[in-house]
């Protein structure tokens, strides 16, 4: 039973994507299929979260081939938490896309939206569940291939230029990932993450560092870690709002999740790791300073996104339970908040006719409800209590203080400064977009089921962030247990490597030949 629960987030969307493609002439059927399957997956993810928190990590061998030779799907507290939040956000964003109406379908241009969106979700889920490096690569490819389609859908000049940058950068990182997999396999004879956790410590130190750095660079490109962030502010903002929201919120977090998973499981450390500490500090500052220099709403938000990746790196680079708890909570909060901000920006830009701040400053002000939603998200992002960003940041700061030492304090200072700069950037947006001005035309009242659906979806996304704050205590406790699991991965390894069938064992071993 749990096997199927574990398999469903990957299997369901792929099957329904195929179904959705066959009914491409009927947009209503496509919408219903998309919303239905995502709701079912969300329920599944919640059940999985409860199960993993009670029973510990669950594993499933696809096709009955035992690990480490077979393909295993694993879920532990960390992946269950991220899976739940990610699916909640994808569902809300799909509602928004339906409301915005650029998923009308019925014509060959827009028909691929729903199938691609579902495949993207399948890729994201598979990335969270993948138990081996190669499967993780396949998950990334699934996710990226769908995102290439989504970002270039109905492409005009600007979009195709930005799309090319995005595609080429992502492809390069995929090839580097495959190179890393080849090298890891050559060195250890396995790609199973749990098995690698056992074998990696046996390798020479220099080789471990090389592999660790290579994987860090690969996932750093996906997660937009400075200096590997250059492609992000150039490509995401040109896509339609719901696509930007889901790509910005999820794809960077998947990269980050892969980074956390591989670095903690394969290359366990007990001390802060200096290169990552430096990358975190630089990411924090470069991202938010870049945001302040922008005059375009979407580009500004993209730079803020880059900056805030730094917070999650901060927690990881400390290699302590508190630090990782902070990273996990921050990732959950950031998925919701960043998606909400991009959705709101999409509506504002759609009504104002442009995403340029000076143009928006002269346009009719958006409705009050949107201003309230923006305010909640923006303040949460800046870390104002009692919102979700504050909870996550507080834990990160605690982790920094616990660690002590000059480097940790410098990073703390950078984190606090980034918080203030984020507030400044958000205030800049508020002044240009929402503040009342004498030169502005009166507000236009917007009606219609579409608008209500869009505002409702944005509100729902904000609500996910608020829920993280309201349920801060239980969420933080689960997060802490998840972080403790990461530091002590025995349960994870046992769940994957335990003997479930036994009879195929002889074949499973042949894969290890040729490496001694």
């Amino acid at each position: 039973m749990t096997d199927w629960l574990l398999f469903a987030p990957v299997l369901l969307p792929v099957l329904v994507a195929g179904l959705s493609l066959t009914v491409w002439r009927k947009p209503d059927a496509q919408r219903l299929l998309g919303l239905g399957v995502l709701t079912a997956m969300l329920v599944d993810a919640v059940v999985l979260l409860v199960l993993t928190d009670r029973r510990g990590p669950l594993a499933f061998d696809v096709g009955g081939w035992p690990a480490p030779a077979g393909i295993s799907l694993v879920i532990d507290r960390l992946s269950a938490l991220l899976l739940t939040v990610a699916l909640a956000v994808t569902l809300a964003v799909l509602f928004f896309a339906v409301g915005q109406g650029n998923t009308e379908g019925g014509d060959p241009v827009h028909a691929p939206f729903h199938p691609s969106y579902l495949l993207l979700t399948a890729g994201v889920c598979l990335a969270f569940l993948a138990g081996d490096l190669f499967n993780l690569f396949v998950a990334f490819e699934l996710m990226l291939a769908s995102s290439y389609v989504l970002i270039n859908l109905d492409a005009g000049e600007n979009r195709i230029r930005a799309g090319m940058t995005y595609v080429i950068t992502s492809l390069l990182s995929s090839l580097l990932f495959l190179t890393a997999i080849g090298l890891v396999y050559a060195a250890t004879g396995t790609v199973n993450l749990a098995d690698l956790g056992n074998r990696m410590p046996g390798l020479p130190d220099g080789l471990q560092t090389v592999l660790s750095l290579l994987l860090l660079i690969v996932f750093g490109i996906k997660a937009a870690v400075v200096p590997l962030h250059f492609w992000l502010p150039d490509s995401y903002p040109t896509a339609p709002a719901p696509i930007t929201a889901v790509l910005a919120a999820l794809l960077t977090k998947v990269g980050l999740y892969a980074m956390v998973r591989t670095q903690t499981l394969l290359f366990p450390r007990t001390e802060p790791w200096m290169p990552l500490l430096i990358a975190a500090a630089v990411t924090l500052l470069v991202g938010t300073l870049g945001a302040i220099a922008q005059q375009d709403l979407n580009r500004l938000l993209s730079f803020v996104l880059v900056g805030h990746i730094g917070y999650m790196l901060f927690g990881l680079s400390l290699y302590s339970v508190t630090g990782l708890t902070g990273t996990i909570l921050y990732a959950m909060h950031h998925i919701a908040v960043q998606a909400a901000l991009f959705l709101i920006a999409g509506m504002v830009a759609g009504w104002g006719g442009s995403a340029k701040l000076p143009v928006l400053a002269r346009a009719a002000p958006p409705p009050v409800i949107l201003a309230i939603l923006f305010l909640i998200s923006a303040l949460s992002l800046a870390g104002i209590p009692p919102l979700s960003g504050f909870v996550a940041k507080l834990i990160l700061l605690q982790a920094g203080v616990e660690q002590g030492g000059a480097a940790a304090y410098v990073l703390l200072a950078a984190a606090l400064l980034t918080s203030l700069l984020t507030l400044y950037a958000m205030a800049k947006v508020w002044r240009a977009v929402f503040a009342a001005g004498t030169e502005r035309p009166p507000a236009v009242r917007r009606h219609g089921a579409r608008t209500r659906l869009m505002v409702g979806a944005a509100g729902g996304t904000v609500l996910i962030g608020v829920l993280v704050a309201v349920a801060a205590e239980p969420v933080a406790r689960v997060g802490e247990r998840a972080a403790a699991d990461l530091m002590e991965p025995d349960a994870y390894q046992e769940a994957v490597l335990q003997d479930r069938s036994g009879d195929l064992d002889d074949i499973g071993r042949t894969g290890e030949r040729g490496h001694r």
Partner: protein, 123 residues
């Protein structure tokens, strides 16, 4: 540790060098070729990781596990080849669309770079 297949290593290294060189060009077609060459380089690397050649890994009578070639990297390389193939087709379509819309197939400057350049010219 088995000895390294020198020819294989040199070929992979050469392909990587050529691939990266092409990837740094301005023309989108060359970028595409760069991606293709890099894809081959990576697939070869994965195959090299499987160790020395051996018999086909099919279970039969009197076969020893030690004589088999390692099938896992072959499976991985196959998957990667399929993915590269699909993505190349998509890239070709994108290059064509770019040529169709923009009238050339050059990579344009970054938005920010262009803005800074224009500001400097204006001064």
């Amino acid at each position: 540790m088995t000895t390294l297949d020198l020819t294989g290593a040199v070929v992979v290294g050469g392909l990587f060098a050529v691939g990266f060189h092409l990837l740094l060009q301005r023309s989108l077609m060359r970028l595409l070729f760069g991606f293709l060459v890099l894809g081959h380089a990576t697939n070869l690397l994965v195959l090299l990781a499987s160790g020395p050649p051996g018999k086909p890994p099919v279970l039969g009578e009197g076969q020893e596990a030690e004589a088999f070639a390692d099938p896992l990297p072959q499976a991985m390389a196959l998957t990667a080849i399929v993915i590269t193939f699909g993505i190349t087709t998509l890239l070709l379509a994108l290059v064509y669309r770019s040529w169709y819309l923009l009238g050339h197939d050059q990579v344009r400057d970054d938005v920010e770079d262009r803005r800074l350049g224009e500001e400097r010219e204006a001064q």
